[in-house]
């Protein structure tokens, strides 16, 4: 560890990293590179910068350098949600000074591991003549090879020369060729070309007035969309050959990726985004009030939801709608205790968390995603359940509707007064709250959904009373009555807004932007077709990936460039 810190200090002390960041900033890079980029030549234009998420960063490092490389920390702070997705918000983000420093430290640590004497031979296909001086050819070979994967495109000669120069300077300063390579590697890893998906466009030969993503950008979009990681060597090769610019080659790659087990990574990343798993970062259920909600339960709840979705949509090829009334899930001993159900015990002392498949009996109160700890706790207050937050979440995250923020000067005191003897249940308190006409509009949309879930407290534990009063879970959805969450789930499942939201969100997730009118039309048609045929995950991903508009640059983006 001491040696690692020492190297980091040495590298940072050279001042090389700051210089690299300045020299390789997007604007300068833009001017320097536009004329030389492989396959795009002069006509290449940058379209969007989409910051890699923490998971994408981690996945990329592991795919490029191996699973044994430890990614100790996150370079970026939390992102922003836009159009219902963090993925779209990543398009708006730049890097703060502190984030640059975090990425730099992360890169130094990773570079140190990658070029550790025990590992360097696997990546370095050449041996330097002298380890104390720069081997120009060997450095260029390393930079060219690694750069292709980090930047998701070939490096230009100028770029290779620039990084070799960094390696030379560091080698001379520190007297070690591998320190020089580390400096070059860190430089590439703090470059916007790695930290951002920089999508570039070329003219569309079939419609010269429009532009489409170039071959390398297509590879990146496809890979992060389907696998949540950097393009594989096979995909990069397809990009290099130009296959991705044509339907046949593109479809071959889509087919290959769709049948890979790694499609689950993409599915998990999408649903973690759509279902607002970023809220786990700040989740703070009060364990004094909800002692079963331990940190382990929190982690396992998150995994339960993703395991359930992956099993239903990929393994069982179920319809997306089935997620909302399925009785099948996976449980651990701690989750089962919280849910109050018995499970087979597969635990071995000292072993991993034993997940077991579980199916709730008929008429059990828990059904589908809405009754899982993930949804119930993410949309609760630390010390109380919240029908309003839960209802708002269903509207916004599952139905793609927008609930405006509350007006100023609203008196929330009654809603918060959980000990009020006249309003024992939250239903009583919210009913009173809705008497305020400025509140009733939105609360009428949100509260009924959440009130059906009131039989689950903030931690997801089942209950039938609140302050000694029976909990009433009845309500109305789209003019139809329901008495409990089971019936609400059935109504929700039949609502076309639910599936339409999925289709639109999946597309926006892939493009990291709002849809154009043309795309909206295509999405609506696709939704109608899928609703009749079955809203199945692979089919949806395939249709989106094959849609030519998915790779077309919208006019608005072109206007932004100008």
């Amino acid at each position: 560890m001491k040696q690692r810190i020492s190297r980091i200090k040495q590298l940072r002390a050279t001042g090389l990293l700051a210089m690299m960041l300045i020299c390789l900033s997007p604007n300068i890079l833009n001017a320097a590179e536009n004329n030389e980029r492989n396959g795009s030549k002069k006509n290449n234009k940058e379209v969007t910068f989409v910051r890699l998420s923490s998971d994408q960063y981690r996945n990329a490092i592991h795919d490029i350098f191996g699973e044994s490389i430890l990614v100790r920390g996150n370079g970026s702070s939390s992102g922003v949600r836009e159009a219902g997705l963090m993925a779209v918000g990543e398009r708006r983000l730049t890097l703060s000074a502190s984030e640059v420093e975090s990425y730099e430290l992360l890169a130094l640590d990773i570079a140190n591991q990658v070029l550790h004497p025990s590992r360097r031979r696997t990546l370095l296909q050449c041996t330097p003549q002298n380890e104390k001086t720069l081997d120009n050819e060997c450095a260029a070979q390393f930079i060219t090879t690694v750069g292709l994967h980090l930047f998701r495109r070939p490096l230009s000669k100028n770029e290779i020369d620039a990084y070799v120069e960094i390696a030379r300077s560091a080698t001379e300063s520190l007297g070690d060729f591998f320190f020089g390579l580390q400096a070059a590697l860190v430089g590439m890893m703090v470059s916007p070309d790695f930290l951002f998906r920089i999508e570039r466009s070329v003219p569309n030969p079939e419609s010269p007035s429009t532009r489409q993503l170039d071959t390398w950008s297509r590879a990146s979009r496809l890979s992060f969309f389907l696998w949540d990681t950097t393009p594989s060597p096979a995909l990069l090769e397809a990009a290099r050959s130009g296959e991705l610019m044509f339907d046949e080659g593109l479809n071959q790659q889509i087919e290959r990726m769709m049948t890979s087990p790694r499609i689950e990574d993409g599915l998990r990343a999408f649903f973690a985004d759509m279902l607002a798993f970023d809220r786990f970062d700040t989740l703070d259920i009060d364990s004094n009030l909800y002692p079963r909600f331990t940190k382990n339960v929190e982690d396992e709840a998150r995994e339960q939801t993703l395991l359930t979705i992956a099993d239903q949509l990929l393994n069982k090829k179920a319809d997306y709608r089935d997620l909302f009334d399925s009785r099948q899930t996976f449980l651990t001993p701690a989750l089962a205790a919280l849910y109050g159900v018995p499970i087979p015990i597969r635990q071995e002392l000292g072993g991993k968390v034993p997940w077991v498949p579980y199916e709730y009996p008929e008429n059990h109160a828990r059904v589908g995603l809405l009754s899982q700890v993930t949804f119930l706790s993410l949309f609760s207050h630390p010390g109380a359940s919240s029908p309003t937050l839960r209802g708002k979440a269903v509207r916004e995250h599952l139905l793609c509707q927008i609930i405006p923020p509350p007006p100023p000067d609203v008196d929330f005191s009654l809603v918060r007064d959980t000990d009020n003897p006249n309003f024992k249940t939250v239903r009583d308190r919210l009913t009173e709250h809705r008497n305020n006409p400025t509140c009733s509009g939105c609360h009428t949309l949100m509260d009924p959904i959440g009130l059906a879930l009131e039989v689950f407290d903030a931690s997801g534990v089942y209950r039938t009373t609140e302050n000694g009063a029976d909990i009433d879970t009845s309500g109305q959805w789209a003019g139809q009555d329901y008495t409990d969450v089971n019936e609400l789930a059935a109504l929700l499942k039949d609502d076309p807004t639910l599936t339409s939201c999925l289709v639109h969100r999946a597309y926006n997730y892939g493009t990291a932007r709002a849809s154009t009118p043309t795309e909206v039309q295509w999405l609506n048609t696709t939704h109608t077709q899928l609703r009749n045929e079955g809203v199945r995950w692979r089919e949806l991903m395939q249709r989106i990936s094959r849609n030519p508009d998915f790779y077309t640059v919208p006019e608005s983006s072109m206007a932004e460039e100008q």
Binding site: A337, Y358, P361
Partner: protein
Amino acid sequence: MNLLNTGTTINLRISAFLLLFGLISGMFSNPLFAADNIETRGYVISMVHTASYADEQTCPSGTNGSRPDVLIRRVMADGYDREEAIRIINSVRINGGRDDAGKIVGTAITIGGGAAPGGIQSWNGLDFNPANIPGALPDPNAFNAEGRFSFGLNLDGEAGLDSWEHPNTGERGIDNQMWRVLGCWDNYHVNKPVNPYNETIAWDTAVDAMPAWLISISGEDLDQDGEVTVTFDRALNIPLRDAYGSIMSGASFALDTNPRSHNVFAGRIKGRVLTIEPGDFYIQGESQFYPHLRFTNTQLRFELKDDGSLEGHIGGYQPWRDYYHYLSVRGETDGMIDLIGIFYDLKRFADAAPDPATGENTAISSAYFIEAVPAFHVDGEGSLLAESVGAGPKFSGPAVSQYSNQQ
């Protein structure tokens, strides 16, 4: 019923697993298990410690004090008066603990049991851990519990001179000679909500590492008075803790199919109190402190609490060496006890199972406090054997001391 395939139902069927146990133990002959309308509730034991009760009559001469008092008594047992014993102990850091005649008195520095390495202590010039050979040291004559009250059970059906009265129920003839041995040691001389400290810490360690101990009660309607069957079993998995450190209610436990730790008792519930017909009891532990717990003539008195938990005492005649084993592993330092004194007192107060050769009693009447919280019991295939009924107490287990008053 397999949970993987068909889910659970409230109605419980008796699985082949339980029938196998029934055949082994004679339980099959119990008509309760031939009926369809039997409910079985499961529990996991969340707390175990020797039953403690102390009032002003318990130790009229005072308690046995702490470490200095133990050493003084130990040196006095070597033939010194109190003043010289104190001088010897005070001289340990100066001259190694010598008497007025200049002779080293090893008993002044010995600490017994636990992980204390023999090399750091000596007695008469030899490396020596007195816990290993307690009889080699003289009896320090520690104070023993007296008075009228003690928790426990009437094991012999009589109210002899050496028996106690139950402090809550007033029942006479309570047999708990173990309490005479332990009751005047300070960390045992406590009342709820305080628990015997060293046993609490020992259980706190064991419960997170050792397969759980389970109880089940089967009967037609466990909310009413009636005949029941009570089982004790060992689980294959350990208990879970909640955010308070309490043992989590409603967790699932797989029963160990080894019949060694399977105990079945005919019992009855009357006025929400569970009792059993006497019998032998053995349950295997997996802890340095609790290799096992075993009694003959076992009885129990558990209260069925409104929150679904059980609380009360189990007792019987326990081989006194079992308890000495626990204490010697635990050591004198944490327990603030004198292993030598307790060794002699366990032998002295042992009241059952005379050795055919020597005539010395090998077992001692004892009682243990038990708390058990609701739990599901399943077999290896996931079939439900016992339902978890009730939310359980907010605080349970060894990490807290917020118990309700004992019965």
